[in-house]
């Protein structure tokens, strides 16, 4: 009897395993073209894409889109493996952070010609298109922008009534809002992702507008940047929790969610988490304070968008899907759900953008003629490793007082300068 049960169980397993076997391409039998789309931040965004795919398939009955959500932490590895194994998707979500890596492997198809003939031509934010083109040596458009982000300081309205306009005001507030033993004016991101945030803060304070000077030397160790880092490191443990030294963004957002921290620097993307923790009315956001002369300097966040892969067998259908995703309605829907800045300029004018305080702040800041945008060198193949593995531990040493801010910034500047020189040599610049 036992043996019979065991064999029956085995048979059921065998049937289920083969039932989940290799994909033969759904829809192929019905004469449909099937394209695969990899979402580079699968999870919370999955239902948004599922809705958009439903709309796309209704408008294009001959195309079936197969959605695959890739967890953000592993997306680069997934793309690298797929490229090496020759099994890339037709369309993929890609950001400028790793665009250079993908184009370096000749994996993507430029979209310039498609865009020139498209109905969305002239309707995508020029700043985002420029940012994408600057990322690759040949200046082609390998990624069609769908959204961008901006660094803001989130704050609790019941603790801070008036958002600071200058960095001096910010430091004063951080100090005043700290009420030991467990209430803090600010939280520093000391763990993963710390370098991008501190770069954004330093350039906003110093007002330096280029990452490299004319001779190709990094401006990261500019004296004003050193001055800022010294002040910011001075806040650690005085006006921030001690645990900040290992803060990555989930920990930082979770700490802010406890209501014990008055201000937190992140970007627009964490809006829904703050609303969930505190409610919509208690949350405010301001752009990073102004630097010298009242000028606001912001470091451009990576642009997130869509790329058609070179190995796609259905490039026209793939482009059609990309075009649909960045069209007014789709782009507006997507960004409204995620709380980010639409790339489609028609969507930027939609009423929901004006209705969300943090988004209005971001769009107004970006469109303000007084705002200066600094573009980080995302095109450097080593940019990610320099600003993560190489220097994040050193930043922790700065917070812990084991390394001087000047020494840290000199090290970071030297690495960036070397990488820039290497890149220029490789691209004949």
């Amino acid at each position: 009897m036992k043996m019979k049960v065991a064999w029956a169980a085995l048979a059921v397993l065998a049937v289920t395993a083969t039932g989940c076997g290799s994909d033969s391409g759904s829809g192929e039998g019905s004469g449909k073209t099937t394209i695969t789309f990899w979402d580079n931040n699968g999870g919370a965004r999955t239902p948004i894409y599922q809705e958009l795919i439903k709309r796309f398939e209704a408008a294009n009955p001959s195309i079936h889109v197969e959605y695959v959500g890739v967890p953000i932490a592993s997306v680069q590895q997934k793309y690298d493996t797929a490229i090496a194994g020759g099994d890339t998707p037709d369309v993929g979500g890609v950001t400028t952070s790793y665009l250079a890596n993908l184009t370096g492997q000749q994996a993507l198809e430029p979209a310039d010609e498609w865009l020139a003939k498209s109905s969305v031509n002239g309707k995508l934010a020029t700043s985002m298109l420029d940012s994408v083109r600057k990322t690759v040596p040949d200046g082609k458009l390998y990624l069609v922008p769908g959204t961008s982000n901006m660094d803001v300081v989130w704050y609790l309205k019941d603790k801070l009534q008036q958002a600071p306009d200058t960095w001096d005001e910010f430091f004063t507030h951080a100090d005043e809002l700290t009420k030991k033993p467990d209430e803090y004016g600010y939280t520093i991101r000391g763990g993963a992702g710390s370098i991008f945030q501190i770069l954004a803060e330093m350039y906003s304070y110093s007002g330096v507008t280029e990452f490299f000077d004319a001779s190709g030397r990094s401006t990261v160790n500019d004296p004003k940047n050193v001055e800022f880092l010294t002040k910011m490191a001075g806040l650690y443990k005085k006006d921030t929790p001690e645990a900040d030294v290992t803060n990555d963004f989930p920990k930082m957002v979770a700490a802010f969610g406890t209501g014990k921290i008055a201000m937190m620097h992140h970007n627009l993307g964490s809006y829904n988490d703050h609303v969930k923790a505190h409610g919509k009315d208690k949350i405010g956001a301001f752009a990073l304070p102004t630097g010298p002369g009242g000028k606001r300097t912001i470091v451009a966040n990576p642009v997130d968008g869509f790329a058609v892969f070179k190995s796609s067998e259905h490039k026209d259908a793939a482009w059609k899907f990309v075009e649909f995703l960045v069209s007014h309605d789709s782009n507006s829907y997507w960004n409204q759900q995620t709380g980010q800045i639409p790339a489609n300029t028609e969507a930027q004018g939609d009423s929901w953008v004006q209705g969300l305080e943090h988004l209005k702040t971001a769009v107004d800041t970006l469109n303000d003629p007084n705002t200066q945008v600094v573009s980080p060198p995302y095109y450097l193949p080593q940019f990610s490793s320099i600003t993560k593995a190489d220097t994040e531990p050193l930043f922790q040493k700065v917070l812990l007082g084991q390394m001087k801010p000047q020494e840290f910034l000199d090290t970071l500047a030297q690495k960036l300068t070397d990488a820039q020189a290497e890149w220029k040599k490789a691209t004949g610049g």
Binding site: T16, G43, G69, P71, G85, G269
Partner: protein
């Protein structure tokens, strides 16, 4: 003590009274139970925290999950897709367990019972494979699996996980088989059994701790494998639990409640398996580890 409990040779039988006195000894409490209790608290706090996040309402900061809500479990099960991921994980885990165990028994038997040239070297090579991280094998395996049509299928995951489970499983199993005297098998063969029949009738029943140790090792390793589950599969309905868990941390936001609820769902089968087999596992691994 029931009559069918076997007392191992060399085991010291302690009278009940002495055992009770030993338990009450305050020095023993300080030396043994206090450190163990502290270690237990230290180990269980993260689990408690996971339960708190999974069961309390979103936005709550209470250290006690009250009122209890199951909304986060509904989110992970229905919205994130755990219903499908869980089923896939069970299929891959159980198949990997079965295939690993069967091959490990065959391989272990060969290593234990036959003397052949290169046997020692083969054992060393098996051991060395444990030092190669899965990530290093990713691209070659991907190419091989692609040419075999194993990409995007649960069968591919079973093969990949089984291959990585096998070396240690074979080494462990050969230890277990060596512990069963060959003379017993010989006696069965003298009585007319074939070698295979002798193995089934005499050796296999004595391998129960080993089968459980190897099987549970294979199941738990496969259940937790994130890398292969993500890299060899590019179909939403073929992902497994570890991939689903990673969905809860996005680029700019993290759903801690869903992460905790997903963690509970992911940990539950492993905890249950462990609870059932732990007495065999401890005995099994130690027995397999020292005999070869």
């Amino acid at each position: 003590m029931s009559a069918d409990v076997m007392i191992r040779p060399g085991t010291r039988v302690v009278p009940d009274g002495a055992r009770r006195r030993k338990r009450r000894d305050p020095g023993r409490v300080l030396r043994l139970y206090v450190p163990l209790g502290m270690y237990l608290v230290f180990t269980l706090v993260p689990f408690y925290w996971m339960l708190v996040f999974a069961l309390r309402p979103a936005g709550s900061t209470d250290p006690v999950p009250w009122p209890i809500t199951f909304e986060h479990f509904e989110t992970v099960w229905n919205d994130i897709g755990y219903a499908v991921f869980f089923k896939n994980s069970v299929i891959v885990g159980v198949w990997s367990l079965l295939v690993t165990t069967v091959i490990a028994v065959m391989g272990g038997y060969a290593l234990s019972r036959y003397r052949f040239r290169g046997r020692g070297l083969f054992m060393v090579v098996l051991l060395c494979t444990q030092f190669i991280p899965g990530a290093m094998m990713l691209i070659p395996l991907f190419s091989i699996f692609k040419s075999l049509g194993l990409i995007n299928s649960l069968a591919g995951l079973v093969v990949a996980d089984t291959v990585f489970n096998l070396p240690l499983s074979i080494i462990l199993m050969s230890g277990f088989i060596s512990a069963v005297p060959f003379t017993v098998e010989e006696a069965a063969m003298v009585d007319g059994c074939t070698r295979f029949r002798g193995f089934l009738a005499i050796v296999l029943p004595q391998l129960r701790p080993g089968l459980i140790a190897v099987g549970s090792f294979a199941f738990i390793h496969t259940w937790n494998n994130f890398l292969f589950a993500l890299m060899f599969v590019s179909k939403q309905d073929s992902f497994t639990i570890p991939v689903g868990l990673s969905y809860t941390i996005g680029e700019y936001s993290a759903d801690f409640e869903a992460l905790a609820a997903g963690g509970v769902v992911a940990a539950l089968p492993v905890v249950c398996v462990f609870a059932v087999v732990q007495r065999y596992l401890v005995h099994g691994i130690s027995a397999g580890a020292v005999k070869g």
